[in-house]
Symmetry: C2
């Protein structure tokens, strides 16, 4: 059997070691990773993908961990992708709160993977969708994608997940500020975590008011605000019920297909645009740009005409 | 005189009305906008560009407004670009704190422009650099680019500004959380705003400690943490002194050229990549993608081979 067939069979059989190896190839974009993804694609589409996002410190990892344990106890197969912003000068020392989650990775039927964002400024790393496809092909019932909610990453998670959970805390500041950060627009479910803290009811009420201002979504889903206390594992079952409710809503209304077609369209466009860039910026063109920067910075030529000449 | 010459002369003469008109063209990417930018480019490079970023609610607009007034009183010409995340369902109702800033726009030698991020999820809109070029050509001494700090926007601002100011507040949560959001890595100056509040000294000390962990920057600049109370206009002069100190450091060390060459390189790459996309995705290819989504979602074909056929 060819190497690639061994990997594919391993993934399809949920072999944790092989899944890990395949994810590493996908993350590093090795020469055979595209062939792997191409082969695995036809086995995808069964898992329900849950995105969990929110501002730093909202307790997303703790909630994720609670969900993992619950899903596992219900006999569900769970894949988790935890997106970590890497910091070039701390070298990953910030990942402490992920360590507790790794323990859950020892549970049977649970597979957890940390992926680092390359740019260190948050955002979903570009291969998260592909990594989800691997976990999907591996037969996971649920895939949880957890990412720190800073800008681009919310947009990305909304374009990947079937159900998007936005986690806030009473200290997240007034809800208007949260809206500024764009979180309100992508949520299928709001979670107010650390809800035993002062001001929780007021913040929950404000979020509910803002939701009412929002025009009804096309698919008729009504966004709910749930209260949890992640550290005490309170509200996890209610959260899972709400996820199931949203999932059934998507399935019953048929909007799951529409949503996934949008995700797929985005995926194809991203694949193409990335290849256009990679194909264009060969060694010669990159060198040419480097050589001309001096004359452009000195205003002897201008970037617009340089770009024109480069493209013609 | 041709229309475009009238615009260019107007910008070069700091005619506020013409600057506004030109910026609208640049923002909307009208057919003549590139020619305008091409002509204006040789008149750029004189302004010092200040980026102000930080989490929602940190008081960036108030600080910006204080800086505008101070710079104006010193006889400096100031251009401001305030990047607003637009919300599709509030329609811009969040911009209240920018209204106060608009009053400063009535000052002579001050030009203020709000630009909306298209995606509504923060981030610098793609024409901010070009808009800064227009203000630069218009003879501004300082250009302030203010953006809500959510993810991608910090990276963008760091790739545009000569001096990056990161604004935090005592409530920004522990500094480790702020680091997670990547803010620590792009700051030339930290401002702890609302520093009359409880816990300010502790947060300032934590930020200083974290800065010490960071390897010295290549150019030898030492990042400082300043305390301000924006609402009382406290600390504004100290902040301007620190900006001037950083500016002189860049000029004396010659690192301003290096920094701006990196910005220019990024700008050219972005211009090219954007044109590659626009040129590729013509009506025919877009339609082809739409037509094939059904069969891809049904797993009858896979996106990877479709992308290959599309590119060949």
């Amino acid at each position: 059997m060819k190497d690639i067939e061994i990997l594919i069979n391993g993934v399809l059989n949920s072999d944790k070691r092989v899944i890990a190896k395949t994810l590493t190839k996908v993350e590093n974009e090795t020469s055979d990773s595209e062939e792997l993804l191409e082969e695995l694609y036809k086995h995808t589409g069964k898992a329900h993908r849950i995105g969990i996002t929110g501002p730093p410190g909202a307790g997303k990892s703790t909630l994720t961990n609670n969900l993992i344990k619950l899903l596992s106890s219900l006999g569900k197969k769970v894949g988790v992708i935890a997106v970590d912003p890497t910091s070039p000068f701390t070298g990953g020392a910030l990942l402490g709160d992920r360590i507790r989650m790794q323990e859950s990775g020892l549970l049977e039927n649970v597979f957890i993977r940390s992926m680092a964002t390359r740019g260190s400024l948050g955002g979903l790393c570009k291969n998260v969708v592909e990594a989800s496809d691997v976990l999907d092909a591996a037969g996971m019932d649920f895939i949880i994608i957890e990412t720190v909610g800073v800008g681009q990453s919310e947009l990305d998670i909304a374009q990947t997940a079937d159900t998007v959970i936005v986690v806030l805390v009473p200290e997240s500041g007034d809800a208007v500020q949260a809206m500024k950060a764009g979180l309100m627009e992508i949520a299928d479910i709001f979670v107010l975590n650390k809800s035993e803290r002062e001001g929780a009811d007021a913040v929950a009420a404000t979020i509910k008011n803002i939701i009412h201002l929002k025009p009804a979504t096309e698919d008729g889903w009504i966004i709910n605000v749930l209260k949890t206390v992640g550290s005490k594992n309170e509200g996890t079952e209610e959260l899972f019920k709400e996820i199931e409710k949203h999932r059934n809503h998507l399935l019953d209304s048929g909007f799951i297909r529409k949503r996934r077609m949008l995700h797929l369209e985005k995926k194809v466009i991203d694949l193409v645009n990335n290849k256009l860039k990679v194909n264009f910026w060969d060694k010669e063109k990159t060198q040419l740009l480097t050589n001309r920067l001096e004359s452009m910075i000195d205003r002897d030529e201008n970037p617009y005409s340089f770009v024109k000449s480069l493209l013609s």
